[in-house]
Amino acid sequence: MDLNLTTEERLFRDELRVWLEANSPKDWDQWREKPIEESFEYLRAWQRKLYEGGWAAVSWPKEYGGRSASLMQQAIFWEEMARVEAPPMVNSLGLGLIGPTIIAYGTQAQKERFVPKILSAEEIWCQGFSEPNAGSDLAALQTEARSSGDHYIVNGQKVWTSYGWVGDWCELVVRTDAEVAKHKGLTVLLVDMRSKGVEVRPLRQMTGESEFNELFFRDVRVPVENVLGKVNDGWNVAVSTLMHERGSYGARLHLLFKRSINRLIELSHTFQKNGHTAAQDAVTRQKLAQCYAEIEIMRWNQMRAFSRMSATGIPGPEGSIQKIFWSELNQRVQQIAQEMMGPYGQLLAGDSHAVDKGIWSYGYLRTRGNTIEAGTSEVQRNIIGHFVLGLPRSY
C-alpha cells in the first residue's frame, strides 16, 4: 500500500498541469451558464485542442491516438481536469464508451473510419440503448433490424439519448432475432444519424432542460458493414460499453463534491439557524461533517477499486458500490444545502435572491436523476447481490 504518486504518475500529472495551465480556456465562466446549444462549438473547439495536445483520450492505446495511460493516470487526468475547472468534452460518449468499444470489437475498416473523428470531435456520437419499455431490463429492447440484402432496415424508438440532437453517429442496439432468448438476439449497429427516417426530439426533464433526446427510427437503412462485432452478439458488445461507464471518469467526482461541500461550509458561516450561524448549529455541523467524511470515503473507495482494477485489468462489479455511493451522497449533499438555506434553497437561477445563481435549487432537482441514470441504484444492488455476493439472480 502506497498512496503516494509514483515517479511516472507524477511526471504524467506535471506534464498535464503544464499543458492545462497553458491551454485550458480562461473564459469558460462566461460560457458555462449558457445552454449547450450555444456553447457547443466552443466545447467542440476545446476537445479539438485536447486532441491536438494528445490529451483527448489518455486511456486509449497509443496506436489509436491515446497515451495507453494506466488507470491511476486516467484518474489523475480527470482530477486535474476538475482541478482547473476545465470545460467538459462534447464527445464524451464517443471518447469514454463508444470509441473503446469500437477499438475492442470493430473491424480494421471501422476503426480507421470512426476512431480518429471521435478523438477530434469532428463526429459526435450518441448511444441508442434505453427504450420506453427497456430501461433496467435493457435486453428486452424492441427496436428491430430486419436483414435486407446488404442492409438492415431499422424500426423502433430509443429514449434518454444524450447528445442525440447533435449526434452524427449512434451506437444502436437492435433486435436481429426475435426467436431466441432475449440476450441472444441483439446486434449493435453504427448508425449515421443523417440517414433517412431518423427523427430526433428533445426530452424535457424535471429540471426544465433537455439534456436528452428521444430517437425515432422509421425504415432506416444501415449497411451491413456497420455491424459492430458479430450479428446476435450485441449483448456482449453493449455490456462492454456499459462497463466503461464505471471507469476512471468517476475520479473527477471527488473534486466536484469537495468543491460543493467546501462552498456549503463557507455558506454555513453566513446562514442563520436557531439563533446562531448554521456553522454553530449542532445539527447542521453534524450533517456537514457527515457529508465531508463520506466525500473522502468515496475517494478512498475509488482508489481501492482502481488499484484492484489495475491488478486484474478489467472493471469489476465492485464498481457498483461507487455508483450507489456517489449518487446517494450527492443527494445528501444537496439535501443539507436545502436545509441550511431554508426558503432560499428553492430560488431558481435568475431570481435576484437566489444563492450562488441558483445552483443549489438546480442541484437539488438534477441529483434526483443520479440514482436513476447509468444504472439505477436497484440495478446496482442486484449486481452486487448476484455478481459480488453470489446470491441467486433475483429477476
Binding site: M1, L3, L5, A279, A289, E294, R304
Partner: protein, 367 residues
C-alpha cells in the same frame, strides 16, 4: 499509487486469519465468554509465539517493527474471529500509548514485557463523565499517588499493570498496588470485559506526559476500526451464506430483492469502512497532515456501519437471528462496545466539524 495490500501484507493477513480460525474458533470464543475474564493463558501464549504482541513496536524493545497498516490488518482478522481477552487492551491500548508517550527507560520497563508477551495490560481513561476529552479528566497523579475512579476499563482483572491517563500525565500502576480495587461492570460484549478501578492513594509511576496522547488514541482508534471491519466482514459472510441456504416460499430468501439489497448495503458499508480504515492507517504511518481527520472519518463511518450491518444481518436471519445460538448477536455486542470506545459517530462528526468547519477560512486556502 497503489491502494492495495502488498504481498507481505496479504501474507500477514492470511496467516492471521488461519491462526485465529485454528486457535480461536467461535466455539472457543463462546467458552471464554462464559468465564469471568475471557482470558485463556494457552491462547495467549500462542498469540505471543506469533509475535503479535510486538507487531508494531520497535525492535529495540523486542517488537517486530511493522507499520500501522499491518496492525490494522491483524486487528481486522482478530475482529473477524471475535478474539476475546486482553490482546486489544494490552497491545492496541497500553502498548500503543506507552510507545507514544514514554521515555526510553520506561519503555524498557513497560513496553518490552508487552512485546515479549510477559505482561498483559490495559489503559484506564474514562471517568464518571464518560468523556474522551482529556481535559475532562479529574484524576491527577503529580503526587505520585492516584485517587479517584476510572470506568469502562477493558480487561483490567487480567492486567499485570494498568496505564492510567490522568489530567497531568500518563501513569503506570502495578496490579498489586495498594489502595486499588477492581470490580467488573456487567456489559454487552462478553468477550471484552469491562471494569471499574478505584484508586485510593495508589502509588503510580509517571511514564510520560499527555502531549502525544491524542496521537496514541488515533492509532488505537484506527486499529479498533480495523477490528470493527473484521466483525462486519464476518457478519456479512454469515448472513449471505444464510440467505443462500434458507428457503421460504420455495426459494432461497437471498433471491428476494428486499433481502438481497440489504446484503448489498452490508457489503457497501463493510467495504467503505475498510477503505476508511486502511486510509487512516496509511495516513498515520505517513504522518500525513490529515491523519487525525482521517481517523475520525473512519471511526465515524464504522461506528454507524457496524451497528447497521448488525441490524441488517439479524433482520435477514429472521427469528433465527434473535436466538442466543446464532453468532450474529456476539458480533452485534462487540459492535456496540466498539461504537462507543474512543467516541461514537456523533463525537467524531463534531471532531471533524471542529477541524473543517471552524477553520473554513484555512480550508478554502488549501483547497
Amino acid at each position: 499509487m497503489q491502494f492495495g495490500l502488498s504481498e507481505s501484507q496479504e501474507f500477514l493477513k492470511d496467516s492471521a486469519r488461519k491462526f485465529f480460525a485454528g486457535e480461536c474458533p467461535i466455539a472457543e470464543v463462546r467458552r471464554l465468554m462464559d468465564t469471568a475474564t475471557a482470558y485463556d493463558p494457552k491462547l495467549w501464549s500462542k498469540i505471543v509465539e506469533q509475535g503479535y504482541t510486538g507487531i508494531i513496536f520497535p525492535e529495540e524493545y523486542g517488537g517486530v517493527g511493522l507499520g500501522k497498516v499491518e496492525l490494522i490488518l491483524l486487528m481486522e482478522e482478530a475482529g473477524r474471529a471475535l478474539l476475546p481477552g486482553p490482546f486489544f487492551s494490552t497491545v492496541v491500548l497500553a502498548g500503543v500509548l506507552i510507545d507514544a508517550v514514554a521515555i526510553p527507560e520506561k519503555k524498557k520497563k513497560y513496553l518490552a514485557p508487552i512485546c515479549r508477551g510477559e505482561a498483559r495490560s490495559t489503559v484506564a481513561v474514562l471517568e464518571a463523565s464518560a468523556s474522551w476529552d482529556p481535559a475532562a479528566l479529574e484524576i491527577t497523579g503529580a503526587s505520585g499517588k492516584l485517587t479517584g475512579e476510572k470506568l469502562f476499563v477493558p480487561d483490567a482483572a487480567v492486567s499485570d499493570f494498568m496505564v492510567v491517563v490522568a489530567r497531568d500525565g500518563v501513569f503506570a500502576v502495578d496490579a498489586k498496588a495498594s489502595g486499588m480495587k477492581i470490580a467488573p461492570m456487567e456489559s454487552m460484549d462478553l468477550g471484552r470485559k469491562l471494569y471499574t478501578i478505584q484508586f485510593n492513594n495508589t502509588p503510580a509511576e509517571r511514564v510520560g506526559d499527555t502531549a502525544a496522547l491524542l496521537r496514541a488514541f488515533d492509532v488505537a482508534t484506527a486499529a479498533l476500526v480495523g477490528e470493527m471491519v473484521g466483525g462486519m466482514q464476518r457478519s456479512l459472510e454469515i448472513t449471505v451464506d444464510y440467505a443462500k441456504m434458507r428457503k421460504q416460499f420455495g426459494k432461497p430468501i437471498g433471491m428476494f430483492q428486499a433481502v438481497q439489497h440489504q446484503c448489498a448495503d452490508m457489503y457497501l458499508e463493510t467495504e467503505s469502512s475498510r477503505s476508511a480504515a486502511y486510509y487512516a492507517a496509511w495516513a498515520l504511518e505517513e504522518n500525513a497532515p490529515n491523519a487525525s481527520v482521517a481517523v475520525s472519518i473512519a471511526k465515524m463511518y464504522a461506528s454507524d456501519a457496524c451497528r447497521t450491518v448488525g441490524n441488517r444481518g439479524i433482520q435477514i436471519h429472521g427469528g433465527m437471528g434473535f436466538t442466543w445460538e446464532n453468532d450474529l448477536h456476539l458480533y452485534y455486542r462487540r459492535a456496540k462496545s466498539s461504537e462507543t470506545m474512543f467516541g461514537d459517530a456523533g463525537f467524531h462528526r463534531e471532531r471533524i466539524a471542529r477541524q473543517v468547519i471552524d477553520s473554513a477560512a484555512n480550508l478554502a486556502k488549501s483547497a
